[in-house]
Amino acid sequence: MSDSSPADPSSSQRALALLSRVMDREIRLGQPADTASLPLALARHVDQVCYRFEAAWKADGAPGTPPRIEEYLADTPEPARADLLRELILVDIYYRCLLGQAVRAGEYLARFPELERSPP
């Protein structure tokens, strides 16, 4: 995994550290980290959206136009949004790595500022 902004190594390291915390499910984004703590209906919703996102990756992932997290996140308010974002990022990272694409932590942070706002 690498960041695309080598001009600022400290920023790059910070972004990578943050991303690894997302992957380790340490980041709560102000919400409980565990989908099991969501009401069942919301947990099902998160699962279904992620399922569609993953299906889109499988169908059309490379090398054309990969699915965009933003489109799958759009209709989901809190409290499910934080969980959904984390799960979508995890799926996104997996398929980018699988297809040999660069995974840029800084890009996720730029696209989703709430990642920065989350508690340490």
Binding site: A36, L40, A43, D47, C50, E54, K58, Y94, Y95
Partner: protein, 198 residues
């Protein structure tokens, strides 16, 4: 008699795992015997649950046990649900015997899979040797919980998990991201836990 819950609370995970395995081996042994004795019904969903049992028993014989501390340990959840029901039934029977006056304050018994939350209820049952009745109830719960999963892939994930496959192995079988397997295991746990409260 010390048992695995005490050990777990005391932080001795290795000892707790050992006691859990010993208890569990006896419990599923009894459950399996019960299954073999019972007339087989033809329902597919029942076969899924029975297959999970069967595979698990083979795994147990080979020394593979679900980790007590694995949050997505579906067997522990299943045992917890079953023991809760047994505890609740016994408590209700005692109250009826005393002539009613039901005070519904034992929320710990109706809690989730956290051993600490259910310790009070579990200690009444788990502190003893597993009984054939408990084993029969475990079999029934296994069948009911699989029926409550309304999606074939969720059933498959639960089955593989209970058979002792790792997240990565299940992800490879389904050609999906490992995080998808983890997420769906949490969903299965939510579905099963939701039905704990009677």
């Amino acid at each position: 008699v010390t048992h695995w819950l005490d050990q777990l609370k005391a932080g001795d995970h290795a000892a707790a795992q050992e006691l859990w395995e010993r208890y569990f081996r006896r419990l599923v042994g009894l459950a399996r015997k019960k299954l073999q004795d019972a007339p087989r019904r033809a329902a597919d969903e029942e076969d899924v649950a029975l297959s999970a049992f069967d595979s698990f028993c083979r795994g147990a014989a080979a020394g593979r046990f679900p980790q007590l501390l694995d949050r997505n340990n579906l067997w522990r959840l299943l045992v917890t649900i079953t023991v809760n029901k047994v505890c609740n039934a016994r408590r209700d029977a005692r109250r009826q015997k005393r002539g009613g006056g039901a005070v519904r304050g034992e929320s710990a018994l109706r809690g989730a899979a956290d051993p600490a939350e259910t310790a009070e209820g579990l200690e009444q049952v788990v502190g003893r040797e597993p009984t054939p009745e408990l084993a029969a109830q475990l079999t029934e719960e296994c069948r009911r919980r699989f029926q409550s999963l309304d999606d074939a892939e969720l059933q498959a994930i639960a089955l593989w998990k209970m058979e002792g496959h790792t997240t990565d192995e299940i992800a490879a079988k389904l050609a999906c991201a490992p995080s998808t397997v983890e997420r769906r295991l949490r969903l299965i746990r939510s579905i099963w836990e939701q039905e704990i409260v009677p």
